[in-house]
């Protein structure tokens, strides 16, 4: 017996000695190697299940080709502009929902929260003549209070978010009626609000904003690279940095260029320029992404979504993270409400009631995991683009409305299947959550 133990002991000691003798091998960081190595690493990540928004982007391209074949109007300039303004409100709602979906929660009341916010807005703006900015600030505050309320009941009282927000979904429809008065529908009369979805920025301003966006992208890329260099860790080749920025510049430049062309029928009244809502969405998305990617709060949000117990043991205030996610969701839902009010031009008692499930669908189609912890804000927007493209394209084909819902539903199930399969591939079984 004793000799056998000694054997185990010495063999272990021998291994330690050899291991200690060698210089500690550095572990790669994922930043090393040529562009080709980087690309291969990316492909292998995708193949192992980290597909992100690739399926949605692919689906969008397929849809574009399909609809363009069936209806030449689909990729016409006016329709491209339409597609963007139509996507804005659903995209914003989906982005709002991504914050709570990332922590494996849901907000079924996000749509009616937008409804309540806009009811407050029109009452203040139309009814009482309050300046629209102040009126909107107050509706935003209402959204934040709603988010705090949901967050409190989910994080502190411990009621599932599905139940809390289902209750609010029902209750807020009543609240909308109370605020608006029975049967009242208000027209959006504030020109600034109408302009968000229905007016364009002058072409020159479009190019200036484009240049700013490209410079900011380039600047942050250099800033990040500089920080890595100062920290003494490997960086990617500078060519890769420029290539990435160039791709972003060319694609966004192409969009600006196309939207700056005249898309009106009457040569005397040209319609040209990027719709005002587009830079607003891009700016909000950029800010949100920076916060998620670069702050402790962002990483803690992902941690709470991935494993709340691990987050708790790491000293993270899980309840505070949860509450803040609901606050952001409700606040951004109000912003999406403003876009929708601008687009449809009226706020009635049913405003926002059928939107939330489309918002959730958009996030899922974009590749955000309903199981939490995986997904990015932009995926909500891309998912919304797919869903809006389906509605828009089928609308051009003058197919009955039912087809739209059928196709959207099918795409959603497909996206959820991709999510489930990629989770399996990534080796993350449901049981381990």
């Amino acid at each position: 017996m004793t000799t056998e133990q000694k054997d185990v002991d010495t063999s272990l000691a021998a291994k330690i000695d050899t291991a200690g003798g060698a210089t500690p091998p550095g572990i790669a960081t994922g930043y090393e190697g040529t562009a080709a190595d980087q690309f291969r690493a990316y492909v292998s990540r995708v193949r192992s299940g980290e597909m992100g928004m690739l399926p949605a982007l692919g689906g969008f391209v397929v849809l574009c080709i399909l609809f363009q074949i069936l209806s030449p109007d689909f990729l016409s300039l006016p329709n491209i502009a339409n597609l963007m303004t139509q996507t804005a409100f659903l995209g914003m709602l989906a982005v709002a929902l991504v914050f709570v979906i990332l922590i494996a929660e849901i907000d079924l009341s996000a749509g009616v929260t937008a409804g309540v916010g806009m009811a407050v807005f029109v009452q203040l703006n139309n009814g009482m003549g309050v300046n629209w900015i102040l009126a909107f600030a107050i509706s935003l505050a209402v959204g934040i209070v709603i988010g705090l309320f949901i967050g409190y009941f989910v994080a502190k009282v411990g009621i599932p978010s599905f139940v809390v927000t289902l209750g609010l979904f029902l209750g807020f429809q009543g609240l909308q009626l109370v605020i608006l008065g029975d049967g009242n529908t208000y027209r959006v009369t504030e020109p600034a609000v109408t302009a968000i979805e229905n007016s364009n920025i002058p072409p020159v301003v479009g190019w200036i904003l484009w240049a700013i966006a490209v410079l900011v992208t380039l600047g942050t890329a250099f800033y990040d690279r500089g920080r890595r260099v100062r920290a003494g860790v490997p960086v990617r080749g500078i060519g890769l940095l420029f290539a990435r920025v160039a791709v972003i510049a060319v694609v966004s430049g192409a969009v600006v260029f196309l939207l700056n062309l005249n898309r009106g029928n009457n040569p005397l009244f040209p319609i040209a320029g990027v719709p005002i809502v587009v830079p607003i969405v891009v700016a909000l998305l950029w800010i949100g992404t920076q916060i998620l990617d670069r702050t402790r709060w962002g990483i803690h949000l992902y941690a709470v979504g991935g494993n709340p117990e691990a987050a708790r043991r790491a000293g993270i205030n899980v309840a505070a993270i949860r509450i803040s996610a609901f606050v952001l969701c409700s606040g951004l839902a109000i912003v999406s409400g403003l876009f929708q009010a601008s687009q449809v031009g009226v706020v009635g008692s049913s405003f926002g009631q059928t939107d939330v499930l489309n918002g959730v669908a958009a996030a899922v189609v974009g590749g955000v995991s309903l199981f939490g912890g995986r997904g990015r804000l932009v995926q909500g927007l891309v998912g919304a683009l797919v869903i809006t493209a389906i509605a828009n394209g089928l609308g051009l084909l003058a197919l009955p409305g039912g087809i739209n819902l059928l196709v959207t539903g099918g795409v959603l199930v497909l996206a959820a299947t991709v999510d489930a399969l990629s989770r399996k591939r990534a080796g993350a079984s449901l049981a381990r959550v």
């Binding site: 185990v8 002991d9 572990i27 960081t29 994922g30 980290e50 494993n307 117990e309």
Partner: protein, 254 residues
């Protein structure tokens, strides 16, 4: 003989009428591996929960670095350099190795994460433990094997500048090769001067890695032996209560 970093004297813990720890003594030495063994329900987890500060003892003395201390919260334990790696590891699979190692203690500069600095520290910590099985420190934990995850959890404790690392059944869920990997890591921890307290059911592991073996039997520490002076049969006897440990007799037998 080295002075113990942690010394428990006559600690007791009860849940209602049930006394789970009945006056336990334990020493953990810097740079050495102490094993804590015992049958299910012996009180091992209760003992380390007290050290971790998550479930304070009812009575008894806890000396850390020779000074009496009160461990009433995980923060207390953490401040004294006591880190616990629980059996369920508590890692976020959706985050990468660096993010998991720094979770809750991220370094920031001007409000934004210092990813480069953290990456470097994570790399050098893993390097100092001669961990070489991982492709990249930016790999997601979901893509790691059980042994690699255990390694990340241990490296997290090391990064925290732990003086003592407590491991709860670190090899229970692992295969042969991965077990060996983790045991090597445990030895290396000790070589760096860290005191290790390892709980294990597997006596082969214990004999391979530990310097001292402490046997808990129904809430009482029934034996404290040097690994080199003992054998598996004796330890099994202490664990099951079939054998009584008598230090003098043991010495006389040699």
């Amino acid at each position: 003989m080295v002075a113990p970093y942690i010394e428990l004297r006559d600690v007791r813990k009860g849940f209602g009428p049930v006394e789970v720890l009945k006056g336990v003594n334990l020493k953990v030495y810097p740079g050495q591996v102490s094993a804590l063994v015992g049958d299910n329900g012996a009180g091992k987890s209760t003992l380390i929960k007290g050290l971790a500060g998550v479930q304070p003892y009812d009575s008894g003395e806890v000396l850390v670095g020779g000074e009496p201390v009160h461990l009433t919260s995980p923060k207390d334990a953490s401040k004294l350099g006591i880190e616990v790696v629980y059996q369920d590891l508590a890692l976020c699979e959706n985050l990468d190795i660096v993010q998991n190692m720094f979770l809750g203690r991220e370094e920031v500069h001007q409000g934004t994460l210092s990813n480069g600095e953290m990456e470097k520290q994570a790399s050098s910590t893993l390097g100092s433990l001669s961990v070489r099985t991982m492709k990249s420190v930016r790999q997601k934990v979901s893509s790691l094997s059980g042994g690699q995850r255990q390694t990340v959890a241990i490296a997290r404790a090391v990064l925290q500048q732990a003086k003592v690392v407590i491991l709860d059944e670190p090899t229970a869920a692992l295969g042969v090769a991965q077990t060996e990997q983790v045991l090597l890591l445990v030895r290396r921890l000790a070589e760096q001067g860290v005191g290790v307290l390892i709980i294990s059911h597997n006596l082969a592991d214990v004999f391979a890695v530990a310097d001292h073996i402490n046997v808990l039997y129904l809430g009482t520490m029934v034996a404290e032996v040097e690994t080199k002076d003992s054998n598996r049969d004796d330890v099994v006897g202490y664990i099951t209560g079939a054998k009584t440990f008598t230090p003098n007799l043991e010495g006389a037998a040699r």
